[in-house]
């Protein structure tokens, strides 16, 4: 009886230690993968930037860097390579561009999703953005600056936030806007935090 109880206790402690280790993995182990992949993506992007000077940029390729996102409000070193696609495999590698939504700087809605707490948590602090903050997107052909216009917490089923005109699914877009989505509250899948921005500036690479 005593041996049985002891074994039960030891097993419980073991399970507890494994769960703690799993939490550690979620917070730090997942990030090391993202950081490794981000380095590869940034390298790829620098290569395509050089190519863009010679040749006109074609369609976005799946799984490759489509641009860099920088947000000065979140620090000078805040820089992530954006990749095409929002499957869980894509998002492990960095913030992803929703396929089918507008390309950077183009009329319509340029939609990005990123993790909030795991996989290097690129969108961890986007709740700190205020109206008027810059979101800078470096695409191979130009640098686009969007200005934050609003924030919203929505349900995961609220697909209207990624419509060409956010929250007006039937309207025709006349403006270039950006939408960032991530989970809300932190460590939860209950809601989504959405940040909106409007294009405020463009600088072509050849002149800038």
């Amino acid at each position: 009886m005593r041996a049985l109880l002891r074994t039960c206790g030891e097993l419980s402690i073991t399970v507890g230690v494994i769960m703690l280790l799993f939490c550690g993995y979620l917070l730090w182990g997942t990030s090391s993968y993202t950081e490794w992949y981000q380095r590869i993506l940034k390298q790829q992007l620098h290569e395509t930037t050089k190519l863009a000077k010679l040749d006109k940029l074609g369609k976005l390729d799946l799984g490759r860097a489509v641009g860099l996102i920088r947000i000065p409000r979140l620090g000078r070193s805040y820089e992530y390579a954006i990749l095409e696609g929002v499957t869980s495999e894509d998002l492990r590698r960095g913030p992803g561009h929703y396929p089918g939504t507008a390309r950077p700087g183009k009329i319509g809605n340029f939609v990005l999703s990123g993790h909030r707490t795991t996989y290097a948590a690129p969108f961890n602090r986007i709740d700190e953005l205020r109206r008027g903050d810059d979101i800078i997107i470096d695409a191979p052909e130009a640098r686009y600056t969007y200005r934050v216009s609003g924030k919203q917490v929505v349900l995961p089923t609220d697909v209207d936030v990624i419509a060409p005109v956010p929250n007006h699914p039937d309207a025709r877009p006349t403006q270039a806007v950006i939408t960032l989505t991530t989970c809300h509250p932190e460590y939860s899948a209950r809601q989504r935090l959405v940040v909106y921005g409007v294009l405020s500036g463009k600088r072509d690479r050849s002149t800038g």
Binding site: R6, T7, E10, L11, I18, L21, F22, Y25, L26, G29, T30, V86, S88, L91, Y98, S113, G114, H115, R116, T117, T118, Y119, F123, V154, P156, T157, D158, V159, V161, I162, T181, T182, C183, Y187, S188, A189, R192
Partner: protein
């Protein structure tokens, strides 16, 4: 369970301790690199996209 493992491992205290550390490290590595990556997609911790 742990008492039994300790008794089954051969050698003196030093050798036992070294063996235990290697075993624990191996178990940790298997969890970290193989088991946890398989578990992670099933934890609804950080869902970021919208959709139906």
């Amino acid at each position: 369970m742990y008492g039994w493992i300790w008794r089954v491992i051969p050698g003196g205290t030093g050798v036992k301790l070294a063996t235990v550390l290697v075993l624990a490290g191996g178990a940790g590595a298997v969890l970290w690199y193989f088991v946890f990556p398989l578990m992670e997609p099933h934890v609804p911790l950080d869902r970021v996209t919208v959709g139906r």
